[in-house]
């Protein structure tokens, strides 16, 4: 825990003088340690002359930020209209069933966190999913199975 805070403090020092520093800082923290621990709010607030409530307000406003450690991989399934027109609802149901989780939950083996996403910009190749930083298009249930299997290795 101490090591984590040291890492976060270093990121705070690196970002605190940027104009509008809070979002870039939160991104840096999440990129480096996978989430934004609530225990870091006081340090962030102090460095940026904000209240803890303001930091909490920003973290909780944006869907991208999370306050708990996610699984080793993040699987996002697009729920937006274009993907709906190509059967994403069935794909969502399939993913939830075979991972045995609902959205915003992590599989029992900590391998995959399932998240909804509203458009990945891959709408000509719907339905689309994103595994970590890679997008996949025209995804069938079988494609999703192999993606999940690969991620779990």
């Amino acid at each position: 825990m101490q090591a984590l805070q040291t890492q976060i403090d270093a990121l705070i020092v690196k970002h605190q003088n940027m104009p509008g520093a809070l979002l870039p800082l939160l991104h840096a923290i999440q990129d480096n340690i996978g989430y934004v621990p609530e225990s870091s709010y006081t340090h962030i607030a102090k460095a940026l002359s904000l209240s803890v409530a303001e930091v909490h307000g920003v973290v909780s406003f944006y869907h991208h930020f999370r306050t708990h450690k996610p699984g080793s991989h993040i699987l996002q399934i697009c729920r937006a209209e274009s993907c709906q027109s190509m059967g994403s609802e069935a794909l969502e149901a399939h993913a939830k069933k075979c991972l045995n989780v609902d959205y915003h939950q992590t599989t029992a083996d900590d391998a995959i966190t399932l998240l909804p996403v509203y458009c990945l910009g891959n709408c000509a190749l719907s339905p689309a999913v994103m595994l970590d930083d890679e997008v996949y298009g025209r995804v069938s249930a079988a494609d999703l199975d192999s993606l999940i299997a690969e991620a779990k290795v």
């Binding site: 274009s82 027109s85 709408c123 000509a124």
Partner: protein
């Protein structure tokens, strides 16, 4: 002789396995002792043909697609690297000369002139394909003349609001301030749209050039690109391009030795749809919750950190270089009515041939859906299309002859928005789509104004009753009342336009709500 092979690095191409195809082609060439150079170009936007591999020949590039890893060996067996040899029988995936593919040839690519042709992060390539001509011309003009050129071109905000770009610039130019900003709205959150992503991944320099021209025009020295977090590949491409542009003197304290400064930085958004609204975007850039601001003051007068700020969409800014290169009239000669120039249209959803079609305003939806889109992907009749993202109206078949033009769409109570077209086949349940529109608004509402914050949740509840067949007539009336409140009482377009998909679904497809057509 080294043969050039082009394999896209665009994320939609990657979503169809372009990375693996590139690796397989490199490996196969090595195995066979063939001398090839693989260039990772942008995508041409014929997405159903991705991964589309192109080979440079004397007559131009020859395309193959959709190429999968399993096709690679057979491509080499068919001598695809020597496609122009008359004795070579073309591979079954051969599409002939890329420039002759009808889908591409009929387009009028101005903003997308280089997309798919160049290596996106090569400044040399950009310069070899007319890059930075616009900025060089702009540097010869007075600030007021640059703004006048943009105004005369008729360019209107391509983010969706269609406000004349030149007028916005003029307001900022007219403000006295110690600091002004150019902000690029790259928070492309509308379902069915990907043209911003394509520009940023496939021709990032054109956006950088457009923003630099904007900075020089209005006297802003700092630019920010507010990029959605769902676009990691665009982030990499933009940062690489900004680094080379800075190194070569196209950005920095002394742009092309003009004595004028312009600095550029990419800032990542964090997955809030409402931050596509310009004032909430500015709040977010300032490091706050993306809560919508009251207007006035306009961002042009009091924008980022309270300073005069130009906020433009990616496509608007990326169109500026060609206007400054070829002149206002050249651009204004395209289009119809008050919709001048071209629109990068995105064909999405249930279509056989989805992708990027840039054309002058005036083409009809029907032409786009059938001549370009090839009809539905599932082979069933197209029942509805949603134009302009999640806040756009649903249009029935009887409105497919509407030409793409801002005013023509307004006449049928619809919007063009950012030019995304999502098609649905006859299995779509429009009551479900109306419910989703309210649900999306509830998820994404910033919470500042009541019609949007509360109305969206109440909307979901009432639609659920309609779907359950409970007091249908009474509840339809309730949805209409609620929509009226949201339309007229919301602070921004999120709450203010959610009634577009809801009411259009109800008006055009009443049978899905359990009421008769009359």
């Amino acid at each position: 002789m080294t043969i050039k092979v082009y394999i896209p690095r665009d994320s939609s191409a990657l979503s169809m396995g372009a990375e693996k195809v590139a690796a397989a082609i490199a490996l196969e060439a090595k195995k066979r002792g063939l001398d090839i150079q693989i260039i990772r170009n942008g995508s041409r936007g014929l997405y159903w043909l991705e991964t589309m591999v192109e080979v440079a020949t004397e007559k131009g590039r020859v395309a193959y697609g959709p190429v999968k890893v399993k096709d690679v060996a057979s491509l080499f067996d068919a001598d695809f690297l020597n496609a122009n040899d008359a004795n070579v029988k073309p591979h079954s995936l051969s599409l002939g000369l890329t420039d002759e593919i009808a889908w591409l040839k009929k387009q009028q690519r101005l903003t997308f002139a280089r997309v798919g042709i160049t290596d996106p992060i090569s400044l040399t390539d950009y310069l070899a394909h007319d890059g930075y001509k616009g900025l060089r011309n702009a540097l010869q003009l007075s600030a007021a003349d640059i703004v006048k050129t943009v105004t005369d071109s008729g360019l209107r905000g391509r983010g969706g609001a269609a406000f004349p770009t030149g007028i916005k610039w003029k307001t900022v130019l007219g403000c006295e301030a110690t600091q002004k900003y150019i902000v690029c709205n790259a928070d492309e959150g509308d379902s069915g749209t990907f043209s911003d992503r394509m520009i940023m991944e496939n021709d990032p320099f054109v956006l950088i050039e457009g923003m630099t021209i904007a900075g020089i025009a209005v006297g802003a020295t700092q630019g920010y690109i507010y990029l959605r977090s769902e676009y990691p590949h665009a982030l990499v491409a933009l940062n690489a391009a900004i680094a080379s542009a800075t190194e070569a003197g196209y950005l920095g304290n002394n742009v092309l030795a003009s004595g004028k400064a312009f600095h550029l930085e990419v800032r990542r958004a964090a997955g809030a749809y409402v931050c596509g609204e310009e004032t909430s975007l500015l709040e977010s850039l300032e490091g706050k919750r993306g809560v919508v601001r009251f207007k006035p003051p306009l961002p042009a007068i009091e924008g980022l950190f309270g300073k005069p700020t130009v906020v433009n969409n990616v496509i608007s800014l990326a169109t500026v270089p060609i206007i400054l290169d070829k002149g206002a009239q050249y651009y204004a000669d395209y289009g119809m009515g008050r919709s001048r120039g071209t629109l990068p249209i995105q064909l999405a959803g249930n279509l056989k041939h989805g992708g990027l079609v840039e054309l002058a305003f005036g083409i009809t939806l029907r032409e786009l859906l059938y001549e370009y889109g090839g009809g539905s992907a599932t082979g069933k009749p197209i029942r509805a299309v949603q134009v302009g993202g999640p806040l756009g109206a649903f249009l029935p078949e009887s409105q497919f002859d509407t030409p793409l033009d801002y005013e023509e769409f307004t006449k049928i109570w619809a919007v063009l928005g950012h030019g995304g077209i999502v098609a649905f086949d006859d299995t779509v349940d429009m009551a479900k789509m109306a419910r989703y529109a309210f649900e999306f608004c509830a998820i994404e509402s910033c919470g500042k104004c009541t019609p949007c914050r509360i109305g969206s949740t109440r909307g979901v509840e009432v639609i659920d009753k309609i779907i359950a067949g409970k007091d249908t007539v009474k509840n339809i009336k309730l949805v209409r009342d609620l929509s009226d409140t949201m339309l007229n009482g919301s602070l921004c377009a999120l709450g203010g336009m959610t009634p577009y998909p809801v009411l259009s679904a109800m008006n055009h497809f009443p049978e899905d709500f359990g009421i008769s057509k009359s």
